[in-house]
């Protein structure tokens, strides 16, 4: 048995039953990383030594528990995981894919990561990302692009492309990502894995390098909905270190309703007509429609719905996110951390350090946001965008009065070739057209594989549900994954 083929759930079970050791599992992941990293470049940093010593410590703890015939209360004891390089892990470099954080060693660990560590998880390394999570392909990483394991001439999506590629290529059973405008769901879709963007405020962002603070969410990428649910449940909930975390109880996840009814009986799914527009790849539309029929076969009712302001999500996002980014990234000034371009005056240190260390997409978004917030333009851009955001949020609220979940494509196409969008930022922004609305409305979304296109690239679908109803997402995707095996397909790399 190849240990890297284990899902997260299987890995947990084999570790707890003593059928394999954390050393063997962690070693197997590191060996596969060593073998495939040259063709993928999913990682920006590997913590091989510390991972192995943590694995040995976990094995001692597991053995001691077995001697007294007891199981660990730490569910993830001995499980290796990967973390997107925008979340801090004390002592491990954190670059956010940017030269402006080169050499930065954070003195603290993000709460989301800490909760996984407290449950026994081992951080094996930090995964590649578009610089400051700004991008849809990882091509904006200052440290080189990640390659899609299904076709290494194509992008893995982004910005959590390193995490998606690592999970798809089975370098690691699961990884953390972040989703500000689709950055978990779109790479999950491009790489054929399952990816969650939770409700805004559900998972702590303490220790997350901030991009668009009214939109940023910490999410999970793994092979199955069950695996995603395991990590989500451990991370979710109020954190005193992040005032935006919600106090609402974390909904209990029940995968099977044991009353003899069809697994999705009583659930109403809405299909928004605005998400099936010209420009969408025929195989993506066909894949999503076929998956919807499967969900219907599992007992769900299907209704056509309308989210009338969908077309405005893109312009709203590309005002609000850059505006928030322009404020959040003001902290990178060459004074307190990161490299400094030395100059005669403090002002010149600012100009030169920022001008030479930020990449082009980050500079564009900072400038766009600065413009949208500047005197004379604030009302026309930022003010108007905040009002249209209200309309987009109301679209979802009204839809959820009649249905329980929305099913839609994740992206208009499957993974595109590296370099396809060249130096055309607007063409790249259009990749996010179906994922941005969930961020603007704050609702959770789950992407999972529903097929392959003619060239063998994964096709994904997303489900979106009302705030704090992640349990419905997991229940639906799990039911689908019980009767299909797209998530079990392995790229030949």
């Amino acid at each position: 048995m190849d240990l890297t083929d284990l899902t997260l759930k299987q890995a947990i079970s084999t570790l707890h039953h003593g059928e394999t050791s954390s050393r063997e599992l962690t070693r197997a992941c590191l060996a596969r990383i060593e073998q495939l990293e040259p063709s993928l470049h999913a990682f920006l940093y590997l913590a091989a030594d510390s991972a192995m010593s943590q694995a040995d410590a976990a094995d001692r703890e597991l053995a001691a528990l077995r001697r007294i015939n007891s199981q660990s209360t730490k569910l993830l004891l001995g499980v290796p995981l990967a973390i997107k390089d925008v979340l801090t892990v004390e002592g491990l470099p954190c670059t956010a894919g940017s030269k402006i954080l080169e050499g930065f060693i954070p003195p603290f660990t993000a709460t989301a990561v800490k909760r996984l560590q407290e449950s026994g998880a081992i951080v094996i390394g930090k995964t590649n990302t578009d610089e400051f999570a700004m991008g849809s392909s990882t091509e904006n990483s200052a440290y080189g692009v990640t390659h899609n394991p299904w076709d290494t001439s194509r992008v893995p999506g982004g910005s959590s492309g390193g995490s998606a590629a690592a999970v798809a290529a089975r370098l690691i059973p699961a990884a953390l990502g972040t989703d500000t405008g689709g950055s978990v769901r779109q790479p999950a879709s491009f790489c054929g894995v399952t990816g969650l963007k939770p409700t805004y405020g559900r998972v702590s962002r303490y220790g997350l390098v901030a991009y668009g603070s009214s939109l940023d969410c910490v999410g999970v990428l793994a092979r199955t909905a069950e695996d995603v649910a395991i990590l989500y449940t451990i991370m979710a909930g109020r954190d005193p270190l992040d005032a935006t975390t919600a106090g609402a109880p974390v909904s209990r996840i029940e995968f099977v309703v044991a009353d003899g009814r069809p697994p999705l009986g009583g659930l109403r799914i809405g299909i928004p007509r605005e998400y099936f527009v010209s420009g969408i790849q025929a195989e993506v539309e066909a894949g999503v429609r076929q998956a919807v029929s499967m969900l219907e076969g599992l007992g769900a009712e299907i209704h056509e719905i309308s989210l009338p302001h969908t077309e405005y999500a893109l312009p709203v996002y590309y005002i609000l996110a850059p505006a928030e980014a322009s404020a959040n990234l003001a902290r990178y000034d060459g004074i307190r951390y990161g490299p400094r371009i030395q100059a005669e005056s403090m002002w010149d240190i600012f100009y030169r350090t920022r001008g030479s260390k930020f990449g082009a997409e980050v500079e564009r978004r900072i400038m766009l946001g600065t413009y949208a917030l500047s005197a004379g333009y604030y009302d026309a851009y930022y003010g108007q965008a905040q009002k249209v955001r209200t309309l987009i949020k109301r679209d979802f609220e009204q839809a959820f009065e009649q249905i329980d979940a929305i099913a839609a494509p994740v992206a208009p196409t499957t993974a595109f070739p590296i370099g396809a969008h060249g130096d055309d930022p607007l063409a790249m922004y259009l990749e996010d057209v179906f994922t941005l609305p969930a961020n603007l409305a704050g609702v959770p979304g789950l992407a999972f594989p529903v097929g392959f296109d003619g060239t063998g690239l994964p096709v994904g679908m997303q489900l979106m549900v009302p705030h704090f109803r992640e349990d419905v997402l997991f229940r639906m995707a799990h039911a689908y994954q019980q009767v299909t095996d797209w998530q079990a397909q392995k790229p030949r790399i």
């Binding site: 005032a243 709203v316 920022r354 130096d423 607007l426 922004y429």
Partner: protein, 95 residues
């Protein structure tokens, strides 16, 4: 309505970004195209629509106003490019 070179320079100054002449020309063209697209929002009448700045349904709780230990000076200075006598060092701001 494309941005002028002066506008691009003004934004770069506000954002504290030193740009080359080539970057200014490229960003001028790219930002103008993005802004053209974004102006689509002007076609909506939002007279009676309140703005949304946060989607959180509950107010953020306030913690008790009590002092507690932080990360400590040493940890916070560890990543600084230049440090002197336990402080961040910068060139003189006032003569």
């Amino acid at each position: 309505m494309p941005l002028s070179l002066e506008e691009v320079e003004h934004i770069a100054t506000l954002a504290r970004l030193e740009l080359t002449a080539e970057e200014k020309a490229r960003y001028r063209q790219q930002l103008s195209a993005i802004l053209d697209y974004i102006r689509k929002l002007q076609e909506l009448d939002t007279t009676d629509i309140p703005p949304t700045s946060s989607v959180l349904s509950e107010a953020s709780p306030l913690r008790a106003d009590e002092s507690r230990p932080g990360l400590g000076r040493e940890a916070l200075l560890e990543n600084a490019p230049e440090v002197e006598r336990g402080q961040f060092k910068i060139p003189p701001v006032f003569e």
